[in-house]
């Protein structure tokens, strides 16, 4: 079985964000990038599936990023993925969510898959739109927000997170699954894994190679445009009160909530 895990590099959340006032894009070069924490669960789940299923199961990492994205790919390979494919082109810059889904779907079609795994969201955009949009483009089941995953032969079963619990959902491969945090405990790359990752193949994909239409990507293809942005000021520090006993502390909060009319 061919498993492809789609991953993304994201700016480290504890880093200071700066923006290019001309392009209205994040200055990604000034910030340390990390593997999107949500993607680690997808990689781990893929590796566990490979261990369970054995045979000729392979795990391929797919990413769309500037050249610097190779670092997160190496990390994923260090965790144990077999190989990787990377789509990197300056023309991709400025692509919006839907263009991203378009390019990922084309890349997936190009490299081939039985199962696509991804995180539910990225920590920089928190859109959670891309997984479902990619599945829709590929016309395969969109098994999103899975907190448990089981594959048996050609059949796949997930527990899909709902507001009050979960749905047990069954479908046939090929399919796309986005996994929630908590589905597993991602492993750390071992030293041996990191050394081995250097020898693993990273196939470079091109826009022409995957058959992408230039009019549908980058700034030209974007259906949304950031008009303006402003840095949100820090929340003002409010009153900090030291309670001498529990009742006094509770009373203080209660009076505050009443004054603010939230109760």
């Amino acid at each position: 079985m061919r498993i492809v895990v789609a991953v993304k590099q994201v700016p480290d959340t504890s880093a200071e964000k700066t923006f290019d006032p001309q392009t209205k894009r994040l200055n990604r070069s000034s910030i340390e990038n990390i593997l999107n924490p949500f993607d680690e669960y997808a990689i781990e789940e893929a590796l566990r599936l490979k261990e369970t299923l054995g045979g000729d199961t392979t795990v391929t990492i797919l990413t769309m990023a500037p050249q610097s994205g190779v670092d997160v790919v190496r990390k994923a390979l260090g965790m144990g993925a077999d190989n990787a494919a990377m789509l990197s082109d300056d023309a991709i810059g400025g692509s919006d969510t839907m263009s991203t889904a378009y390019l990922l779907a084309l890349s997936l079609k190009h490299i081939g898959f039985d199962l696509v795994l991804c995180g539910t969201q990225s920590t920089d955009a928190i859109n959670s739109i891309v997984p479902a949009a990619v599945a829709e483009r590929l016309r395969i089941p969109a098994l999103t927000y899975a907190k448990k995953l089981h594959v048996s032969g050609n059949s796949i079963e997930i527990q899909r997170e709902t507001e009050s619990g979960y749905w047990r959902v069954v479908a046939q491969l090929p399919a796309l699954v986005s996994v929630t945090k908590g589905i597993n405990e991602p492993r750390y790359p071992t030293l041996k894994g990191i050394m081995g990752a250097k020898k693993k193949e990273i196939a470079m994909l091109t826009l022409a190679g995957i058959g992408a239409d230039a009019a549908r990507i980058g700034d030209a293809g974007a259906r949304t445009k950031v008009e303006s942005f402003e840095v949100v000021g820090a929340r003002a520090r409010g009153e900090v009160f030291t309670a001498s006993d529990p009742h006094e502390g509770a009373r203080k909060i209660m009076d505050f909530l009443i004054a603010k009319k939230v109760i």
Binding site: S128, T144, E227, V240
Partner: protein, 326 residues
């Protein structure tokens, strides 16, 4: 643009609060654009939900009770939305930022060639077009985003961003014809309810959260009691989730949910940046922590330095007394 359409979620016919918020916002935007306002409600119970929507300012309510939304994952809803929006013509679709709402918005956008804007905290009209305000990068930046050259526009709306108004519009209910009986590839074999009657953290207008300071899973009882008394949801920090004290669905923060309640009460949470990015957009933040130097005291509206095991139950008692007296 011909219409602004709100996708309404409901629980067995009871409209979720997001539905009331979206219906009010759709009606306001439609009025400003000189377009029609509509709501679409699908699945068993849709007729009851449609009746309830008559008290919102929406003009047309499309009800599809026969759409098998509970038997297959996503597909029937996407098909129904796709068909209806094509019938209506160029329009904006507002969907709630729930798991199902985001999926439906993303997938129907692919089918219609729509643009999608997510995490909307406000939507306004400028020069006859929608302008969406959306916080980015953990709420450190507020962006204003517009659609470019697309007939269909999908906006994913954060909970608690719009005010639900009780003001009846035309409220004309239009029944959607039952879809042809068919099988879809992703079948729902079982629906398991684990937390009946609880408000999910991403939708709640009040959240009481517990962190490392609780010391163990058994102490989430006092958090839950306060949340219940306030009619809110239980949240948690990453430390509490990673320790296995509470399921991940409750986690607020960078690797959990981003929430925007009116009131957020953080109990025994230090307030690291990874937690802050998930809750900094809350209306009011109250923190209880025994460590007076905890970072959370730098960005809360009221901080109380003290013993949460004493303060939280006492506060629950005061809330109950007040609600009982009201």
């Amino acid at each position: 643009m011909k219409a602004v359409v709100a996708l309404i979620e409901h629980e067995a016919g009871v409209v979720r609060r997001s539905g009331l918020e979206l219906a009010s916002k759709a009606a306001d935007l439609a009025k400003e654009l000189g377009a029609a306002s509509a709501a679409i409600v699908l699945g068993p119970g849709a007729n009851d939900a449609a009746q309830a929507l008559k008290s919102t300012p929406i003009d047309t309510i499309y009800a599809g009770p026969d759409v098998p939304a509970e038997r297959f994952l996503g597909d029937p809803v996407v098909d129904a939305l796709d068909a209806l929006l094509k019938r209506i013509g160029p329009c904006a679709l507002l969907v709630p930022a729930s798991n199902a709402g985001k999926d439906a918005g993303a997938r129907v956008a692919v089918r219609l060639g729509a643009g999608v804007i997510t995490e909307a905290s406000d939507i306004s009209v400028k020069d006859g077009a929608l302008v969406v305000r959306s916080p980015k990068f953990g709420g450190s930046v507020m962006s204003s985003i517009v659609f470019v050259g697309c007939d269909y526009q999908v906006v994913v709306c954060r909970a608690n961003s719009f005010t639900a108004r009780d003001q009846a519009g035309k409220g004309e209910i239009v029944a959607l014809a039952p879809p042809p009986e068919r099988q879809y590839p992703a079948r729902v074999e079982e629906s398991v309810v684990q937390e009946a009657g609880k408000v999910p953290v991403e939708e709640a207008s009040i959240i009481v959260s517990g962190g490392r300071g609780l010391g163990g899973p058994e102490h989430f009882d006092i958090i839950e009691a306060l949340a219940d008394a306030l009619g809110g949801a239980v949240g948690a920090s990453r430390a509490a989730v990673d320790a296995g004290w509470i399921p991940h669905a409750h986690q607020v923060g960078q690797t959990g949910k981003t929430v925007t309640p009116q009131l957020y009460i953080a109990c025994g949470i230090s307030g690291a940046i990874q937690h802050k990015v998930g809750m900094r957009s809350a209306g009011i933040i109250v923190a209880i922590n025994k460590d007076g130097n905890a970072p959370i005291f730098e960005f809360c509206d009221l901080g109380v330095v003290g013993d949460l095991f004493g303060i939280v139950p006492e506060l629950t008692k005061l809330v109950k007394e007040r609600k009982g007296a009201a």
